[in-house]
Symmetry: C2
Subunit: 265 residues, 2 copies
Amino acid sequence: MPADRYNPLIVTRNPSKMAKDDLPMTAPKGPTFQPLYKQIKELLLERIASGEWPPGTFIPSEASLASSYDVSVGTLRKALNELVADNVVIRRQGKGTAVATHDADRALFRFFNIVSHDGERCLPVSRVLGRTRRAPTADERQTLELADGGEVIHIRRVRELQGTAILLEDIVLDAARFAALENQPEVLPNTLYQLYQQQYGRTVAHADETLVAVRAGRDEVEQLGVASGEPLIEIRRVARDYQDVPIERRISRLSTRDYAYACTL
Amino acid sequence: MPADRYNPLIVTRNPSKMAKDDLPMTAPKGPTFQPLYKQIKELLLERIASGEWPPGTFIPSEASLASSYDVSVGTLRKALNELVADNVVIRRQGKGTAVATHDADRALFRFFNIVSHDGERCLPVSRVLGRTRRAPTADERQTLELADGGEVIHIRRVRELQGTAILLEDIVLDAARFAALENQPEVLPNTLYQLYQQQYGRTVAHADETLVAVRAGRDEVEQLGVASGEPLIEIRRVARDYQDVPIERRISRLSTRDYAYACTL
DNA sequence: TACAATTTGTGCGTATGTATA
DNA sequence: ATATACATACGCACAAATTGT
């Protein structure tokens, strides 16, 4: 089906489309009203989230989209620019507008906030310690919004920077959404979010993290080479997709002897 | 002096201002080139930073600024909207464009990333433990970019939420820039950034934080009521103004028994 | 190498809606 | 009711980057 017309746009308050002797506008005062460019933005986001335009592909040009939706290019540009601000698409002059992927250099660091003490950022290598399928804890069921009887995939791995292990990660996913992940692929890639995106069609759009200080336990002593009881930072992350649906629960413990968690306000 | 004309705008690539039989553009390829709206943005930022429009005041309207700079309203809007995105100004329909202050509710929380374990955010009360003037450490001299022989003001305080002390802060400022702060005002306000802005004309525009895990020492035991050696999060912040000039060095130690550091990516 | 076609980026102008004082 | 200021939406022209011929 050619995507030529998308009708149900509420243009009631669109000035240049209103005849002067139009009906008095009664409805559009409702709290559900959204300006035209916001509606376009949502429509585009739905089409991206639905998989119509997979990550990495180029979407139609401004001009063609504008005529499809029967809006001006300026209005469509405003919608696209908001999607750029939300890290959903990437635009390049002369080339086009592409759906954002997790392989661009900048995108990789968006979800890795750890720097060496002199401020350098570099990506760690990962070593998987275990992959299991099991019933969720109560906490996991709540944060991942699992159905009753659902199961989770649990991945535990260590990440090391320049040869020293600094991070012990426990990653939990809805087994229904990531069915085969328990034992396939054989070797997991360094950057899991790329895998979620490419193999499972789930794009991590943003994440919330809360940090607390904890003591190193047996596992951290063994894997990170820290002393027992050594202070660590525990990072509790919930990663979500475009529609705020939770995708992943990740709890990491960070040794801050050589590296630190960085945040810019 | 009436601000009527601002001449040195490089409009070489401004299409509608160029005659068709113009000289071939040779210069504007230089790496220093900035589009017109970026230049306008910088000019506005300079006037805000210079104190011509103090925080809280309304700047001239779009139309008047556009005619002052001899650009279109659209170009000026684009500059202003970037300043909105940078939290430099706040715009309200029908009212005008105001220079951002640190008293708006949202602005207060921008620099306070601590939430209770159930996700609630609330502002803490402060209790000052000491105010001294002293020579800087080597680290302080470097991060605050102090001149040789300069001194610093050092403020130590505890912040408590709902009656329990959770944060021990060591705040260090350039004594040359905050001369009277050592003993005046008698009682320091809860939100220091408002004081910097209102009394000293220094606006904190953004900050970088790095977090490490530490053990509670003698001071933390005494002030935060934690056990000796208890794991804490140490937050090392450098706050800067619009031009990235460092204003404040703040090292805080957070007890994460009831509260956590929150970050959204 | 040169040229053309396509696509986004910049800039201008205008009209009307909506919120505020 | 009026005036002001920002918000939305329309349109157009040209610049700059990219790609293919």
